[in-house]
């Protein structure tokens, strides 16, 4: 029974397209995150979402938008995809607070051609 699941696992798409990545957690956590991991393995936080409070990393382009239909889901929408968006995107969840460990989904490898 997967704790944090993302779909799809792989996504290949053309520049200019709009795509979504879905994330669901069954851990009862109240905070969810999206991270982007580039080819150099750097894990960059993009968004944090807790109880309808959205915190955005200011370096993230506004083509990226998270949508949370309910507490267990945080989907990532990307508009007008660019080559530089190619990366692995990880969803994660935790309880709120500094003492809480984060659980990661298996990642979505996005390739923009």
């Amino acid at each position: 029974d997967t704790a944090v699941s993302q779909t799809p696992k792989y996504l290949v798409t053309q520049m200019g397209n709009d795509k979504s990545i879905k994330c669901e957690q069954n851990l009862g956590h109240d905070t969810m995150y999206w991270y982007k991991q580039d080819s150099k393995k750097f894990l960059k936080i993009m968004f944090s979402y807790n109880n309808k409070e959205l915190i955005i990393n200011e370096t993230v382009p506004n083509r990226f938008s998270p949508k949370s239909p309910d507490k267990a889901h945080l989907n990532l929408h990307i508009n007008s995809l660019e080559l530089g968006d190619s990366a692995v995107y990880f969803c994660a969840s935790s309880h709120k607070g500094q003492v809480a460990e984060a659980f990661f989904g298996q990642g979505t490898r996005l390739t923009v051609v």
Binding site: K41, L43, I45, S48, I55, S94, Q98, E101
Partner: protein, 108 residues
């Protein structure tokens, strides 16, 4: 601002020890450590909450110096399974920000 890790990469022989350092220019109230194996998601190792706290996970331990805003991860008698990229994380509010990672390769 993200924590800074050093070294960026380490190559070890099985049985050797290694230390990975994590420092922050901002106050650190707690430090997370994660390991990511190739092609997999990061996996939690431990959290240190108090200055001076030390913890252990298998033969991997860590310390946290709150005053110096630093944490170190100690890998003792390394095993092949320790290979991967290690990340320290610094929580601030609801954001968990990671350092650049340290790639560890353990060879037979």
């Amino acid at each position: 601002q993200q924590p800074v890790q050093s070294p960026q990469a380490v190559i070890l022989r099985e049985g050797e020890d290694a230390v990975i350092n994590c420092s922050s220019s901002k106050a650190l109230y707690s430090v997370h450590w994660y390991r990511q194996k190739h092609g997999e998601a990061p996996v939690f190792l431990m959290i240190l909450l108090k200055g001076g706290e030390q913890k252990g996970h298998e033969k991997i331990s860590a310390s946290f110096n709150e005053k110096k805003q630093q944490s170190s991860l100690y890998l003792t008698a390394s095993q092949l399974s320790y290979s991967g990229t290690y990340f320290c994380g610094s929580p601030a509010g609801n954001m968990l920000t990671f350092g650049g990672g340290t790639r560890l390769m353990v060879k037979p």
